[in-house]
């Protein structure tokens, strides 16, 4: 694999990595991705732990015959889709920032 392929000959990777623009991009990505993933991880395993160790609680009828467990199960899909939608919206900013970063490299 040759990282210097393409129009950019030997970019100075360390310089780009240290630039404020790139550090800003990384910090921004981290501030969305880390909490979003941790939230989903906790939400999913929280649901599994309740199912495994609190069967009486999740057997409560929450809406008509529907149990709390069934609603929590369906909510996994809703929460997953919501995270995906929020990420799509947020990530357009990441794309803009990285385009800016690449454009600046070309002019200098």
């Amino acid at each position: 694999m040759n990282p210097a392929d393409g129009e950019h000959q030997h970019p100075d990777w360390d310089e780009v990595a240290a630039s404020t623009g790139f550090q800003h991009l990384l910090a921004l990505k981290r501030s969305f991705i880390v909490p979003a993933f941790l939230f989903f991880f906790v939400y999913y395993f929280g649901f599994l732990l309740l199912t495994a160790y609190a069967p009486t609680l999740i057997s409560l009828r929450a809406a008509g015959v529907l149990t709390l467990g069934y609603l929590l199960a369906l909510s996994q899909f809703v929460v997953g889709w919501t995270i995906a939608w929020l990420y799509l919206k947020t990530a357009t900013r990441f794309d803009d920032l990285s385009l800016d970063l690449l454009a600046k490299r070309e002019t200098t």
Binding site: M1, P3, A4, D5, G6, H8, P11, W13, D14, V16, A17, A18, F22, L25, L26, K29, I33, A36, F37, F40, F41, Y44, F45, L48, L49, T51, A52, Y53, P55, I58, S59, G64, V65, L66, T67, G69, Y70, A73, L74, Q76, F77, G80, W81, I83, A84, W85, Y87, L88, A91, F94, D95, S98, L101, L102, R105
Partner: protein, 534 residues
Amino acid sequence: MSISLAIFLVFIAASLGITYWASRHSRGAGAYFAAGRKITAWQNGFAVAGDFMSAASFLGVVGLIALQGFDGFLYAIGGFVAFVTILLLIAEPLRNSGKYTLGDVLAYRLRPRPVRAMAATSTLATILFYMIAQMVGAGALVRLLLAGSGISYNLAVSGVGALMVVYVVFGGMLATTWVQIVKAVLLSTCTLILAVLVLGHFHFHGGEFFAAATQVAYHEKGQPVVRDFLLPGLRYKPPYGPLDLVSLGFAFIFGSAGLPHILGKFYTVPDATTARKSVVWAMGLIGSFYVMTSVLGLGAASILGPDYILSHGGTNMSGPLLAQVLAGQIMLALVTAVAFATILAVVAGLAISASTSFAHDFWLNVIHHGKERKSGETVLAARVATFVVGAVSIAIAIALGPESNVGILATMGMAVAASANFPVLLLSIFWRRFNTMGAVAGLSVGLLGSLGLILAGPTFMGIDGPNSEGMARHLFQVRPWFPLENPGIVSVPLGFLAAFLGTIVTREPGAEAKFNELTVRAHTGLGAEKAEVR
């Protein structure tokens, strides 16, 4: 049954047409292995869904829900959750830093030969388990649904294998992608029709539908019972059931994010932005599919009842039986044909992924140090490998026979992917200090650890009574050394731990120095592989 055969033949004809078209539009390695990186977001979303939703999900999950209610539904959720992991952590960095395989990402800053050799090994192991599960499923389906048509188990397995080889050898990734897109449309439509039929049976009244699921009457060990299928506990029973369930969660949330055939799909799009959008498309399709499987499963439980299902072909036939009872022979034929199309599209994805890893990781980069002596050699090696993959899978599937447990095989593949592939992939992208020793340790301990724990668990070990024979009998007649069926809760941390320990006992300044390069590339796409221009 001839309608079913006719629909299936139309699918085969269409897929061969796609293969012919793809073969005329593919030149060179980038086209063969990655469809020229020109697949659009919605196309790749459908292809990923088509690659992922296997016969195990369509037939297996509906069956699990039909017999075990809420506990079976947990499998449907498990199929979906990994895509959040893929979306947030894997798809974009993978697309930006690799070329065709999981091994590419590892080899970017680690010593290429050892990590590629290990990555290829664990890729092939994961895929082999999956592949055989699909092939056995195809053969079993034929036996049950086309009984009397003259098509035997062996013929069905060989036919599926041969078609898969044709798609992959002649049409490469482009043909595979389009076969998967067509299949995803067929499967989603078919599932939607069935879900509407089920709800229609209950007058489109949600309360009536769920109320029926709370009183499912059947026989258990000869005794009549009435159970509430919305309540947990029909599958995961004490003492180890609850822990087994949590352990299974590890395989689900990380497993698909380490499945080589799913990861390979993100190299077929032009850039990371498209990869991201395609995951969201896939999440929409896969999520709504699994929500519908719960409608099908609960519908099968309350309309047909477990007794009827078990006496008419067994768990896996719940979906097809439901179609037959609700809408007659034509719907049954449609569902059967779609189940076959599903298997074909999935095995094609598995075959191209296995042959790509063999040709690109092992043959080109391990044996030939990354240099082709003649242009086009790697593609040729991949084509030859496809024949071997096809032949080996057919042989093993025939040797194991139609009675073998498809669920166990797929679980093994998922456990290896979660315990071996996922930890090293994540660490190589996000941990500067990570090195070759860590990758080799993580992959080998993850692979051997997960397989070892499954072999030492209650799936393979147990003391049977004198009356059990054949497939019901445990392979090893001893008390299980490891109490859980699903090793994830131990094997995933074990994979991470081995990767961590392997890393800290050695230092690799070269790998650390290249971390900046990988990070910039992974997060900006600077220097990433571009779409081919024609």
